[in-house]
Amino acid sequence: MRPLEPRRAYAVLAPGLLALALLSGCSSRPPAGAGGHAPPAPRARIVEPPPRYRVTLAASTLREDQRILHVLNRLGYGPRPGDLERVRQMGVERWIERQLEPERIPDTALEAALGDYPVLAMSAADLYRDYPPPRQQDVQRFQSGQMTPQEIREVFPPERRPAVINAQLQSAKMARAVLSERQLQEVMVDFWFNHFNVYALKGPVRWMTAAYEREAIRPHALGRFRDLVVATAHHPAMLYYLDNWLSTRDDLVVPGRGRRGLNENYARELLELHTLGVDGGYSQQDVVEVARCFTGWTIERPQQGGGYLFRPLAHDRNAKRVLGTTIPAGGGKEDGLAVIDLLARHPSTARFIATKLVRRFVRDDPPKALVDRVAGVFRKTDGDIRAVLVAIFTSPEFISADTYHAKTKTPLEVVTSAVRALDGRLEPPPAPGAPARVVGGGLTLARQVARLSAPLYEAQPPTGYPDVAEAWVNAGALLGRMNYALALAENRLPGVRTDVGRFLQGVDRRQPAALLDRIVSVVLQGEISASTRRVLVSQLDSPEIVRATADDRGPRNTDVEKLAALVLGSPEFQRR
């Protein structure tokens, strides 16, 4: 959420665009938070181009600061100390507009941190080469107890095991959520990955997941819906996860290896989960016909990180009929693309995607009128995700007082927002050969998310993780959240450094009420219910919160970490 930086100005080539920029008043806007210096005078030929999407929030009874908090909590992973002021200076609408064009937001701190995770940039084939599975004969020797742990480490070194891949992916995802200035982009990458879920622990998918997110999800997260479907349909990770790589025309016989045939798995989930929705109006026969269209879409050498391959021999060349539309015989690979076009433009898809997005950004039970309007925008813009998001963000439903704090945070959201609230620092992953107890901050946070029952990249069912409170609020999970709050505030998480005391400078340590006010202001921006505040105030007298010094004469010492943990574990902090 770093504000506009003058040095990231753009050379404007088209005079028309320059005129537009000046008209929009963009160049004259002072860069917020520039340390009190006067903004540099706009130079004639270099201005920041105007935003592509204009955002005007609807009228609302929320106070301005509440509106900013709401936006920071919904479009991102919650505010860090100081974010409220920064966005206030920039203007919350301007902040949203910038979030819609993440490529224009500098993200240097994150980029530096991601350098620790080489896996992110590697191809599946390279990952397979560098992090190969153990050889079969070695596995048998491990299991039969013929080898000592030391011998196993030599034959199958921990830093070259396939598990490294997912550890890096998970760490990087946490680093992005915590550090990225492009918060909306990270939220949307998470949303679409979950929508087009693959399970990283299904066979060779572990070598494909990095590329899947990088190539099929991330580039289109704020792009066009159809491109997401096309990219995921072609990707080896999806082809493997939902078995389409195995699906062939029903009468295919491979010499010496027997009959092959149709596999309906991908076709069904494409209809039910990726596009139309379960009530989207398709039949079992449509599932079969779609599966026939995608026959031959397979993977070259799936076990070694190969790419997409169309096998004409495996393809069903006969005509198909999908949702009442005939797909003529002999279409080959194009059959699948024809199906995707049909599905991406289907009114049920517009409605299904609108419903899911409104559930993510507005409330668990999506208001019907809003879903209708958003679905209309989806259809009119041919699935332009940014236009759809703008329709949601500018709706009265989004910014209404009922919507404020109406969502319960998911495990990823609660873990991330708490670190951001305390401005926690993530230590980099240890160098190879470091003792096993040294863990990077990203991995520690990912493990916390997993303990709250949503391990990253490891949702097994194709539905991904649910996005409603009921799924996440239960006794065990709630205890997990409180324990996380304690460990984080007390600086007990390996590789995650927090210092509650930093926020309390200038507050008298002997005045627990003043300390509490400051903590509530830092963590919840003062947005706390009267009853929770009352409970916290009553805690201030308890001997564990306020400790007398040994000689009973020095200043009393307040356990500010525990106080901060109580605030982070409060009902208020579980909501966004």
Binding site: D250, E470, N474, G476, S531, S538, K562, L566
Partner: protein
């Protein structure tokens, strides 16, 4: 005092006498509890959901059906051959168990295991998500149902009480089937506390959280918080994790075995469990399903070893326990192009325990000839899952016959499969 807490209070009292302490529990309550002696044993149902649609035709093999071996090529389970380990374990000359289920054969022989075959939903969906939802809400075809059928059942039992552990689900998320019952979900007994045992000041933090969540009970977050802390206190007193598996029971490694082991601990610690729930995945065998060995066989082996260990561990308590397994649908009769099976219709469900009229396969067998199949491809449903679940709820848990267990479905005792005594 509610009977569910007696034993926990007694144990707490013993601990207090040893000076270990049990925070916040008035002494007079402990004495009162101790005076009442051991509570009468309650009936317990353990529900196990095989998520992902288990292939009922490989789990309980209709080896006597003339069309079974024709429809299934490489994935068929070999005909029973006595003395040969990797063949179907014959039960009654027509049906047999997958060889990986042989740990359950002694239960069949002891008439404590019954099977309901060709069981499933009247709804035709082949979506995992919808079918699981319907099987848990108990309302096939209706998505708007807010609560689960087990939750509704619990509310309609004569012993209805507010024990925190009356309904407990092992796992990170509360399953749909128990929504609306104030059920507790826990990943593990050990992690079910604030702060953990080794942390100083944990009790204090717990009190702080507890008071914060005590405020308003009308909302999901607050309501859950309140139940959570009641449960935490009770579990601390009962300390079920100290109970090692009894009678030499050996649970398989992994999440399913751990879940069953902890369910047994909760039952043996007498914390008042009436319904326990565990789920186990890995049944969606679209490719490389395997036959006597392989992917499905491994899952079934784990499944059977877990159930057998649970039965052994609970010992004579099984007289009051019924274990009911379920899965959202079965799989295609024909093997698909990848030595696997796609989504089908009916499957098989197991019922085991003391009150079970075991040693029999219940339900009408619809046959596997093409014209006998549902939509020409799947095993047809001849027993509506609601008839089976209703029998268990009414006969075992004591749910009243007019309770709204399955809205839109008339519960008739004459329609029960007859699996319980």
């Amino acid at each position: 005092m509610d009977p569910c807490t007696r034993r926990a209070f007694i144990k707490g009292g013993a601990l207090s006498a040893l000076g270990i302490g049990l925070d916040g529990m008035p002494r007079f309550l402990l004495r009162a509890a101790a005076a009442q002696g051991t509570a009468a044993r309650r009936k317990t149902l353990i529900a196990v959901f095989q998520r992902g649609a288990v292939d009922g035709l490989s789990m309980v093999v209709p080896h006597g059906d003339p069309d079974y071996y024709g429809a299934r090529g490489a994935i068929a389970i070999a005909r029973p051959a006595s003395g040969q380990p990797e063949t179907t374990v014959d039960l009654d000359g027509f049906f047999g168990l997958h060889p990986a289920l042989s740990p359950l054969k002694p239960l069949w022989d002891a008439r404590r295991l019954a099977i309901v075959h060709a069981c499933g939903s009247p709804d035709i969906t082949r979506s995992h998500f919808d079918a699981q939802d319907y099987m848990e809400s108990g309302t096939p075809g209706v998505k708007s149902t807010a609560d689960g059928w087990l939750a509704r059942g619990l509310q309609a039992t004569p012993r209805a009480s507010s024990c925190p552990f009356r309904a407990v689900a092992m796992g990170p998320q509360l399953p749909r089937v128990l929504r609306g019952a104030g059920a507790v979900a826990m990943g593990s007994i050990a992690e079910f506390d604030v702060g953990g045992a080794s942390m100083t000041g944990a009790v204090d933090a717990r009190r702080g959280f507890e008071s914060m969540y005590e405020q308003g009970v009308r909302d999901l977050l607050y309501g859950t918080g309140k139940e959570t802390f009641e449960a935490v206190k009770m579990l601390k007193a009962a300390a079920p994790q100290r109970l090692a598996p009894a009678n030499g029971a050996q649970y398989p490694r992994g999440r399913f075995g751990d879940s069953l082991k902890q369910i047994a601990q909760l039952i043996r610690a007498d914390v008042g469990v009436e319904v326990a729930f565990a789920d186990v995945g890995g049944w969606d065998t679209h490719a490389g399903q395997g036959n006597e060995r392989g992917q499905l066989a491994n899952r079934l082996g784990d499944f059977a070893q877990g159930l057998a260990a649970l039965e052994r561990d609970l010992g004579d308590r099984m007289d009051d326990v019924v274990v009911l397994t379920m899965s959202e649908f079965g799989r295609t009769v024909r093997e698909n192009g990848n030595r696997g099976t796609d989504h089908g219709h009916a499957t098989a469900m197991l019922v085991l325990g003391g009150p079970v009229r075991g040693g029999a396969v219940y339900g009408r067998w619809p046959g596997l000839r093409r014209d006998q199949l549902f939509e020409g491809r799947d095993l047809a449903v001849t027993t509506d899952f609601r008839a089976l679940f209703a029998e268990v709820a009414l006969r075992h848990l004591g749910v009243g016959p007019t309770a709204p267990l399955f809205p839109g479905f008339t519960v008739k005792t004459s329609g029960f499969p007859g699996v319980l005594v």
